[in-house]
Symmetry: C2
Subunit: 126 residues, 2 copies
């Protein structure tokens, strides 16, 4: 690995950058689903209903570079997690209000939300 994936330091996360990153339906769906999934990491492949492989790669990079998510290589996969602590420290209450609001989006605009909710947390992702 010549260079690890870039992540801004917590104190460098900028509000306009975060707002821009989240001002897109696909990316908003990604973080809403990540949030519903609790602390469990998810892979890019679990979001394929939201777009093509290439498009997801693009949007995930946007979220990562803005400081919204952390991306950690794991074999051929990438494990995505929300940067909850960093975001709460920098912009208190912001992420929670976004997530609460995003969860009110109708399911037909949010196709895999039902799967992501998965209260038992025992879904076998393929």
């Amino acid at each position: 690995m010549t260079h690890p994936l870039f992540h801004p330091d917590a104190e460098e996360i900028s509000l306009p950058a975060i707002l821009t990153a989240l001002g897109d339906e696909t990316r908003l769906n990604i973080i809403a689903i990540l949030a519903r999934n609790g602390e469990r990491a998810m892979t890019c492949g679990q979001f394929l209903e939201l777009g093509s492989k290439t498009a997801l790669s693009y949007h995930v990079a946007k979220l990562r570079e803005a400081g919204v998510i952390n991306v950690r290589p794991d074999g051929t996969k990438r494990l995505l997690t929300l940067r909850r602590v960093d975001l709460e420290g920098r912009f208190p209450g912001f992420l929670d209000s976004i997530i609460a609001s995003a969860n009110t989006i109708p399911l037909r605009e949010n196709p895999i939300a039902a799967n992501a909710a998965d209260p038992a947390g025992e879904t076998e992702w393929t």
Copy 2:
């Protein structure tokens, strides 16, 4: 007046639209200053340090169309106010978290913030 200024109904305000509207330094400054100004309305002209007349007109329209601010004609002026109640009803906690965070932006990125703060509320706007 052939058509009054368009404002989305409160229940039509969309989260991605708001996030996109606020994902711009100029527009974020506008709402931060509006917020610091309390309930008092402000005119476009009071934001001229943030950009040209044309640019301000553009950004104010974006904020209005997204449902972030209300714009009311008053003579040759436009009176701008935050749609606090509508936003709080639709996305609880969101606006407050944005405003609190935006107020931490250094003043050199936020040139007229010192004026807008104006605790006595007695500034003579020219």
